[in-house]
């Protein structure tokens, strides 16, 4: 058996034509191409990465960037094997994206031992910049703390002060519930009750009856994917929203809203850090993305936009250093330089590796308010960058000096 190339053949060499000695880096998009998260990241992240590289090299012909991609299939062991092989055999300098917290934590560790660089856009776990932070990892787009805090706080402030949680019964759900409950109580709200449901529950009706009986104003969905969708579908059927209660999705993406349809999803409140229809720049970028992705009917998610933004900032740092070999040095440079890109605007990368930017509280529109395909949200509140993420001292990251 010859050398097993675990990687994508898709290696696109976007070389600029100059003959001088160049800085050259290799980027690997490690994502879920085939299962649960392939819609929020996956091939769409690869498209975003290509765009970032094309945009950057057009202005900076002195840098040569190679791109490969791979599918971790949502399995931490396959993900860590791929990461090892990319760093050892394929000489990749940066791994980016990686939805699924389990895989991201594994890759973060490997990156640290091999002194490379890892930018997380797809995974949610706030531990990546908390107890499990390291000097080679940057967490770009969003995290669980920010989702919990953003939605919890904003809803309490707008009158949703009593909560009932439907929590997926595993570590991720518990963390989401804990963080949100803390935010709710800190802002003067009250948690009236909760029920822990098994992962991948089909029928939410009995849990919803319990939520209904609690008379809480907000039903917090500390779950994800199919569970969130099933809960909201059943909620619409049992007249939860019509009865005056409100759903708060704690990890909901535009693709989930699409799966629900606006008829069912209307009124759902959620937090995101980027929305394709927020402004003219984003809309123009979305058009280009749709062409690159070859999918006119799809809309980019914040995760995919984060990949674009992350690569852009990375390439700036590498250009300044003229080398991408030393992961820690590049990360340090990225932390020193303020970020600025068309999609996320101005921001910073904090000492613990947390990228800081604004977050937005959205409400899903009713079908009558939606004017064109993809017209999902109306903006309810903007959470300023300084408040959106967990305060530096509270994370317990060892990189933060006391």
């Amino acid at each position: 058996m010859k050398r097993l190339l675990a990687t994508a053949v898709l290696a696109v060499v976007l070389a600029a034509g100059t003959a001088q000695a160049q800085t050259s880096v290799k980027i690997g998009v490690l994502s879920d191409m085939s299962s649960l998260y392939s819609d929020i990241a996956g091939p769409g992240s690869v498209a975003a990465a290509k765009m970032a590289i094309a945009d950057f090299t057009a202005k900076n012909p002195g840098i040569k960037v190679e791109l490969i991609s791979g599918d971790h299939q949502n399995k931490a062991d396959i993900g860590s094997q791929l990461a090892n092989q990319w760093y050892d055999v394929d000489k990749v300098d940066l791994i980016i994206d990686t939805p699924n917290s389990g895989v991201a934590l594994a890759v973060s560790q490997i990156t640290s031992t091999k002194n490379k660089l890892f930018i997380v856009s797809g995974a949610a776990a706030s531990d990546l910049t908390g107890p499990k932070c390291n000097a080679n990892t940057i967490h770009w787009t969003y995290d669980t703390w920010m989702l919990a805090n953003g939605t919890g706080k904003a809803l309490v402030k707008t009158g949703g002060d009593t909560w009932f949680f439907l929590t997926a019964d595993y570590a991720f759900g518990h963390a989401l519930e804990r963080d949100t409950a803390a935010a709710v109580e800190k802002n003067g709200g009250k948690v009236l009750g909760k029920v822990r449901h098994p992962l991948n529950t089909n029928d939410f009706s009995s849990f919803l009856l319990q939520a209904q009986t609690s008379k809480a104003k907000v039903i917090g969905l500390a779950n994800a994917g199919g569970d969130t969708i099933n809960a909201i579908k059943a909620g619409a059927e049992f007249g939860i929203v019509k009865g005056g209660q409100k759903f708060a999705g704690l990890l909901v993406f535009a693709s989930d809203v699409n799966a629900l349809g606006l008829q069912t999803a209307q009124g759902l409140t959620l937090t995101e850090t980027w929305y394709w229809d927020a402004n003219e720049t984003n809309r123009a970028w979305t058009k280009r993305w749709q062409a690159e992705r070859g999918a006119a009917g799809k809309f980019p998610t914040m995760v995919q936009a984060g990949v674009y933004s992350g690569i852009t900032h990375y390439l700036k740092a590498v250009t300044a250093l003229k080398s991408g070999a030393d992961g820690k040095a590049v990360v340090a440079k990225m932390k020193d330089t303020p970020t600025d890109d068309p999609l996320f605007g101005k921001g910073t990368v904090r000492a613990d590796g947390r990228k800081i930017h604004d977050a937005y509280l959205f409400e899903v529109k009713a079908p009558s308010e939606s004017k064109y395909p993809g017209d999902f949200y109306k903006l309810r509140a903007t959470i300023p960058a300084a408040e959106a993420f967990r305060p530096l001292k509270e994370g317990g990251c060892s990189l933060v000096g006391s």
Binding site: Y37, D203, S255, G261, Q263
Partner: protein
Amino acid sequence: MFEIFGIPSQALFGQLLIGLINGSFYALLSLGLAVIFGMLNIINFTHGAQYMMGAFTAYLLLQHTGLGYWPALIVAPILVGITGMIVERTMLKWLYKLDHLYGLLLTFGLALIIEGVVRNYYGSAGLPYTMPESLQGGRNLGFMFLPNYRAWVIVASLTICLGTWFVIERTRLGANLRAATENPTLVRAFGINVPRMITLTYGFGIALAAFAGVMAAPIYNVSPQMGAELIIVVFAVVVIGGMGSILGAIVTGFGLGVIEGLTKVFFPEASNTVIFVIMAIVLLVRPAGLFGRRA
């Protein structure tokens, strides 16, 4: 108003009813499995994928031909049933002389293919399917708010289940079917086309799965993986009931739905394991299943 274990009786009635609805899906699916097993001696692992196909077909019919829920309820099972019959004619029929396990392996492979293909074309997040307007809303029963759609699910699945039971146990067609299961050679000697009967039976079992899929589309997430986990639970249901009897499959399906529903009230964390635990207990006490005949 009185209370049972701290739960108001009214809420309890509500939960019982909800359990019955949930059980409707178990009953429809395990009935299909039992019918197929009775005739083909194959345990159909593709059943979950075919349930999912039913839901997707309903979605596609609505998107591309404008056929709504009611026509889809008839058209989708027929279409999916036909694909099932093609599978039976081209693949399954070569396995009848082999160990039963090969049928399980083949249908497992088919389930992977179907799920993979659907995921490639429609992504994994799922697709929207709106409830027909005639079934929206609900009525207050005093002890709970019962959505009209759920009431319809119970009525429809009970009708289908009992109808199937009647045809198989009480009509001449059913008598022929049962005879063909017992002794195909003899039945063939009477001039009955046994292979065609097998094909139609398989198609019918698949159509039942697809019917359940269409019924699920408005209330559950229509996604490629919607059937994969459900089918494992249905397998446990089938082991508990024993596949020997049609009525057994129906009763067990509804019964376990109710038990699962009650678990969701008293001990929600265990609601996904309760059916497996019951299966283990039944195996200890009555290895052949509640309604099974000892092989």
